[in-house]
Each structure stands twice: as structure tokens, then as C-alpha cells.
């Protein structure tokens, strides 16, 4: 931190020396006397002079409330055991339900939730973070992989690391990072240039830094790692680059890779027969979102994305296993135990990577340990998480036409009109972003039996073309043509969004909150009966979890793409939500691109 002061004074001195030479001090001319040829001081010069070259600020002071290291037991506890004080996993706890046990914040008093502090990201692109809070400290990641430790009560910064990125990153969809993870006294972050690294949570010193794979071959990492035992598990993006997808486990103490699980089988492995020719070599199936862990079953659940190329499946005939699937993995070995494929032979970019929830479904008096998910393809799935058996899938969309129905075994019956072609005229719903997109999280309230799903209603034409694979180059095989972005005579765009409350035991829709633009932020559920989210119009929104009625609304400015969290310190309840959009993707989905980019974290506190 002291470096800030040094740099500030050096810059000030330099500016003073530059602008006030002795000669000028002796005879300071008036403006009218300055000849045209005199040097002027323009904005570019200021930018250059103020350039800060430091990229890592560490901390030497004691910080935190003395809670000690994060243990395996803490991670295994349901979030309710911590009484809502902390938020130590991306999904709140291993259930991934993002359901805060905080009860004091309710529909009755949410009006008293007031702005407490804010903090800038200093970066452009989507500010997608789900912050961590532990020991009175908040750990925040930004777009382009800045990582900062802040006082969770006041926002005071303790340390900061700005990861230095190469200029030729291979990104399909913006410079996002969705959060860090924590274990012991370490903080873990994966990076856009396909690295994973660990930091001392007090000082910010980097402890290890491992390359996952060469980024320039088409890889990136945007998710928070999942900590299971002594492993940090992280998957890669690259489904638009014709990668062969995988997710890895790294030893949290050394950074050494323990295992790698490929999501596309090699020649001779089970599932290889579902790829024609040698298409498996560039089959995609990225693993770019975080999984979840059931300690009782000792299974890690991880989802996979689209097969490559996206919109032309002619060269990859077959079901293309294990793309668009959920895989159950033994974390001790990295071996697959079972799988279920949501969208066989996907030609619509229906990544299966949407947020997974662990939930118990009660039906006919029997309880089933299930995984439930609002898939990007528009169906809300329930899968037996013990053995992978399909339970049910129902549409959670208001527009779904790529499939006509669902077979009893969970295989969708494709509408032939929705297949991409060279001269498309059929408006395919959902469009390429979903449904619910994997870039955002949902939440689930087990007391109400509802999952709160952010939904994009934005359909597109799907145009097919000829593609060729060049390593590190985009590998699309076509493109989506937006058709819902023109405003009607009333100024309303055809693309819109909603938060849908889905009864996860039946698939029924309990309520919907509609917003004029696609919902592309995560949701947070609280035991006090609230659902928090954000909109692309730049608002933080609080909903009544039982009715969907708006009970709290604050303008943040930038479009919201983050995952809100709640925490409790000194008996007081806080809600954190970041704003900051990535215009290219937002615009293609139907968001307002006229709102400037730029990230800002907002923290609200319940004023008791």
C-alpha cells in the first residue's frame, strides 16, 4: 500500500518539474502571450505520466478477525452452519444453492438495505464476480483477473494483484472471471491465459503459479476453482476454438497437477464411436463453469459445453459424447462414474454448463438425491445424482421450439425446422445464450422448494457455413443472426428476460418476474424470503421469493453480470453485488449497449 504514496509523489514531482521550469517561474506568460509553437500539455501526456507500472501490492499488517484457516470441515458444512456469517464457496456451499441462511433481512425490512461502501474494478468487460467473504475479509476478482482483498465492513483495500495478460488471449465471450476460492490460508484464482495460482490470503503474496495449458491453442479459464479435499479443480473454456475439453485437479499446496479428465474420448475409449472421422480431435466440450461435490457419495459433478464446431455438425456425426453433459467423477482418481447428456449432437451452441444445484426431490413419499439444472437448451432437468438416471425435463422458457418433446429416457426430440442451414428463416428459441447461460448462477430455496433462474428470451436464426480448424483460431461453422433486437412501435425490444421461480420437484413455474432486457446476472436466495439479482439496465433488484414481487430496487449504473452474495458481520447483514457489462455479448443478446462499461462493486447493509 505504501507504494501508492511513493508513486503519487513521484508523479506529482515530475509534473511540477515538467510544467514549471525555472524560466517559466521567472516570467510566467499570460495565455494570450503563449506562442502557437509552445509545447502544450494534452490528455495523452497526462495518461502517460500517470501510468502506474506496479501490478502487485502486498500487505504486511495483521488483518482479519482471527477465524483461522479454512478447513475441510468448514467447506463440508452446509452454509447454514456458519449462520450466514461467511460466504466461502462460489455456490455458498457444496450444494451450490447460493441460499444464504440470513433471516434478519426480509421482505418487511428490505427498504432499510442501504448503500454502505463501493469499490472499483478498474477494468472494462463484465464484472462477473461472486465474492468470497471470510474472517471479515472480502476477496474479489475482476475482469482481466485482478484479485483484491478488502475489508468486508468498510471496503478498505488490503492487497491487490493484477494478473498481466498476453495481448492475444483466446476469448470467445469477454474477459470474465467469476470468482476465487479459498482453503487454509490460501486464495486460488484461475486466469484468462489458462493458469491457476495460489496466494497467501493475508499478504497477497503469490505462493504458486501453474500453467493449465498453452492459452494460444484456444484455451482460457474464467471460473472459480472448486476445492475438494486437497485439490483445486478447474476446467477450461475453448468450445469456440475446437479444443479437446478437459478439467484438471491441482494439489492446493504445491500447484502440481494430480489428474486431468478429458471430456472428449480418445480413440478406443468409450464414447469415441459417437464422433465421425477424426472429429473428436477438435470436439470442444469445454468445462468452463464450476462443478459441485457430494461428500457422502464422494462424487464431483462437472458439466460440459458444446461440441465444435458450433453450428455445423456434418463433420462430427453422432451424439458427440461427452459434450453438453453432466459427468460424475471420483475426485480421488479423476475417473468418470456416470454421465448424462442433455443435448446430443448439439448444433445450436447449447452448452450444458449452466449452474448445477444439489437438491432432494420428494415424490410419492420417496426422497431422491438429485441434481437440478436450468439448461441452456431451455429445459429444466432433474437427474438422480447417485446414478445419473433421468428423472424429468420441462421447459422453463416462454419460447422453446428447437425440440418438439422429450423422450422418456431424457433424449430431446429435435424440431427439424430448427436445424441450422445456409439460408435460415426459422427463428430458433432459445438463442445461443440460452435459456439460462452458464456465465451466471442461479439460486435455490430448499424451504420453498423453488429454484430462481435468470432467463434470456432472445431467439435467433442459425446460419450454417463451412469451417476449417486452425489451432488457436475460432471454429464456428456458422453464426447466429439476431432477429429480436429491433424495437417495436412501443419501443420494446423483442428480446427480454425474466427471473423464473421453478418448483424443482415438478418443473412447474411458481412465478416469473419480467424485465425489459435479458437477465444476465446471477441470483441470490436468502432465508429471509428474498431473491436478489441485477439487470442489464443497471439495477440491483430484490424480489419476494414467494411471489416475485419487486420489493427493492437500486440503480447501480452499469449493466449487471455478477453473482450477488450475502454475509453477516457483527450481527449486521450485508449484500454485495457488482455492476459492469461486456457490450459485445450483451448487445448480441439484446442488452443496452449504450450504457458505458466499467466495473463497480456495491455493498449494501441492513440499517437496523
Amino acid at each position: 500500500m505504501s507504494n501508492y504514496g511513493k508513486i503519487f509523489f513521484i508523479v506529482l514531482y515530475a509534473l511540477f518539474a515538467y510544467s514549471c521550469t525555472p524560466a517559466e517561474q521567472e516570467a510566467n506568460p499570460t495565455l494570450s502571450e503563449i506562442p502557437e509553437s509552445a509545447p502544450t500539455f494534452n490528455a495523452d501526456d497526462v495518461g502517460e505520466a500517470l501510468e502506474i507500472t506496479t501490478t502487485h501490492w502486498t500487505n504486511e499488517r495483521p488483518i482479519g478477525d482471527g477465524e483461522g484457516p479454512v478447513t475441510d470441515e468448514m467447506l463440508l458444512e452446509p452454509q447454514s452452519a456458519a449462520a450466514g456469517r461467511n460466504w466461502i464457496q462460489f455456490g455458498g456451499d457444496y450444494s451450490n444453492n447460493r441460499h444464504s441462511p440470513i433471516e434478519q433481512l426480509s421482505v418487511e425490512n428490505v427498504d432499510n438495505l442501504k448503500f454502505e461502501w463501493g469499490f472499483p474494478s478498474g477494468t472494462l468487460g463484465q464484472f462477473s464476480v461472486s465474492p468470497l467473504v471470510y474472517d471479515g475479509i472480502m476477496y474479489v476478482t475482476t475482469s482481466y483477473n485482478r484479485l483484491m482483498a478488502l475489508d468486508a465492513r468498510t471496503g478498505q483495500m488490503y492487497w491487490r494483484y493484477d494478473h498481466q495478460q498476453p495481448e492475444d488471449l483466446r476469448l470467445c465471450c469477454g474477459p470474465a472471471n467469476r470468482g476465487a476460492s479459498i482453503h487454509g490460508d490460501k486464495i486460488f484464482m484461475a486466469t484468462l491465459d489458462s493458469r491457476i495460482m495460489a496466494f497467501d490470503r493475508f499478504s497477497g503474496e503469490k505462493l504458486w503459479d501453474s500453467e493449465i495449458i498453452e492459452y494460444f491453442r484456444g484455451f482460457s479459464a474464467t471460473s472459480a476453482p472448486l476445492i475438494v479435499k486437497d485439490l483445486a479443480i478447474i476446467g477450461v473454456g475453448g468450445g469456440e476454438f475446437g479444443i479437446r475439453g478437459f478439467f484438471d485437479a491441482y494439489n492446493i499446496n504445491t500447484g502440481e497437477r494430480v489428474w486431468r479428465h478429458y471430456t472428449v474420448p480418445a480413440e478406443g475409449e468409450p464414447g469415441y464411436e459417437t464422433w465421425s472421422g477424426n472429429s473428436y480431435e477438435t470436439g470442444g466440450a469445454p468445462a468452463w463453469t464450476i462443478g459441485t461435490y457430494d461428500a457422502e457419495l464422494n462424487l464431483v459433478y462437472w458439466t460440459t459445453g458444446n461440441p465444435s464446431p458450433d453450428w455445423n455438425g456434418d463433420a462430427r456425426l453422432g451424439d458427440n459424447l461427452f459434450s453438453d453433459s453432466v459427468l460424475a467423477i471420483n475426485p480421488d482418481t479423476g475417473e468418470r462414474v456416470w454421465y448424462y447428456q442433455f443435448t446430443p449432437h448439439d448444433v445450436w451452441d447449447y452448452d450444458g454448463n449452466s449452474h448445477l444445484f444439489q437438491a432432494d426431490i420428494v415424490e410419492d413419499g420417496e426422497t431422491t438425491k438429485a441434481l437440478v439444472q436450468a439448461n441452456r437448451n431451455g429445459f429444466f432437468y432433474a437427474i438422480n445424482r447417485t446414478n445419473g438416471e433421468f428423472i424429468r425435463a420441462t421447459s422453463y422458457m416462454e419460447q422453446l421450439n428447437w425440440a418438439d418433446s422429450m423422450e422418456p429416457n431424457g433424449r430431446p426430440v429435435v424440431n427439424p425446422d430448427a436445424m441450422p442451414n445456409e439460408e435460415p428463416t426459422f427463428r430458433v428459441c432459445p438463442g445461443i445464450f440460452g435459456g439460462m447461460n452458464g456465465a451466471v448462477s442461479g439460486s435455490l430455496n430448499p424451504e420453498l422448494g423453488l429454484a430462481f433462474i435468470p432467463v434470456i428470451e432472445s431467439c435467433q436464426l442459425m446460419q450454417k457455413g463451412i469451417s476449417m480448424h486452425v489451432e488457436g483460431q475460432l471454429f464456428f461453422g456458422g453464426l447466429p443472426i439476431p432477429v429480436d433486437l429491433e424495437p417495436d412501435e412501443d419501443g420494446n425490444w423483442a428480446a427480454y428476460g425474466h427471473i423464473s421461480a421453478v418448483d424443482y420437484s415438478t418443473g412447474d413455474i411458481a412465478w416469473r418476474y419480467h424485465d425489459p432486457q435479458p437477465m444476465m446476472a446471477g441470483t441470490l436466495s436468502t432465508a429471509g424470503g428474498l431473491v436478489f439479482t441485477g439487470s442489464q439496465t443497471g439495477h440491483a433488484i430484490g424480489l419476494d421469493a414467494e411471489t416475485g414481487e419487486v420489493v427493492w430496487r437500486k440503480r447501480l449504473g452499469g449493466g449487471v453480470r455478477s453473482q450477488p452474495i450475502a454475509y453477516e458481520l457483527d450481527g449486521e447483514a450485508y449484500v454485495a453485488i457488482a455492476s459492469g457489462n461486456f457490450q459485445s455479448i450483451a448487445g448480441l443478446a439484446g442488452g443496452d449497449v449504450s450504457i458505458p462499461e466499467g466495473g463497480q462493486l456495491y455493498v449494501f447493509k441492513l440499517d437496523n
Partner: protein, 124 residues
């Protein structure tokens, strides 16, 4: 920022002059394909499937996607210059060298260029 805009404008001018001025001077294999609708259609399919998903677009958009149907060429706008740019790539940019990876060899790239020319705005 004003200085940057001026520099960009000045640096673009010779490119425009070179690119547009020489297009009609040097017939290429793309010109042969221009009169073959099937060849132009194949060029379009390759452009749609390989180029137009993100980096380039079929219509002008307010993004950083470089639009290839006008007269502004950063790296040379003659048929041969376009051929060379696609084949060799542009260092330190997203434009990676496609080399000889086209499914039906060089003819495929000439057909893409023919498609670009068939839809190009007339250069002044």
C-alpha cells in the same frame, strides 16, 4: 485522442489509396470465380462458417469486428494482399495464419475473396 485520430486517418489514407487503386489493376484468380455463382456461394459458406462468427461480420456492427465489405483495408486490399494476409496471418492480432488449411486448397480462399468482392462497396 485527437492526435491519435489524426494519425489513424493519415495512416489509413495510403492504405485506402493503395488498396482501392490497385484492385482493378491486377486481375486474380478471384476474378475468375466472380462469374461462377457456385464458387461465390462456396466462398460465402466458408466466410460464414469460418470468418463471420466473431472477427468479421456480414453487416457493419458497433463492435471491434473488422468489416470487410468496404474499402478500408489495414493490411492491403488487393486480391493478392488479402490472400497473403489470410494465409500468413497478422502478428500480434487475432488474425491467425490459415496457411493451407482450406478444405479444397487455395481455390477455397480465392472463392472467399471472390465473395468479398461480389458484395463490396464501390471504392471511390
Amino acid at each position: 485522442m485527437t492526435t491519435i485520430k489524426k494519425l489513424v486517418s493519415l495512416s489509413c489514407l495510403p492504405i485506402l489509396l493503395i488498396g482501392c487503386g490497385s484492385q482493378s489493376e491486377m486481375p486474380s484468380k478471384a476474378d475468375e470465380f466472380l462469374s461462377d455463382p457456385i464458387a461465390v456461394q462456396r466462398g460465402r459458406s466458408i466466410f460464414v462458417g469460418t470468418c463471420a462468427g466473431y472477427c468479421h461480420k456480414l453487416t457493419p456492427e458497433p463492435t471491434d469486428a473488422v468489416y470487410l465489405f468496404d474499402c478500408e483495408w489495414k493490411h492491403g486490399g488487393t486480391d493478392q494482399q488479402i490472400f497473403n494476409t489470410v494465409t500468413n496471418g497478422v502478428p500480434d492480432t487475432r488474425m491467425i495464419a490459415f496457411g493451407s488449411n482450406f478444405p479444397e486448397g487455395e481455390d477455397d480462399l480465392w472463392k472467399v475473396i471472390a465473395f468479398l468482392k461480389s458484395n463490396r462497396t464501390e471504392c471511390a
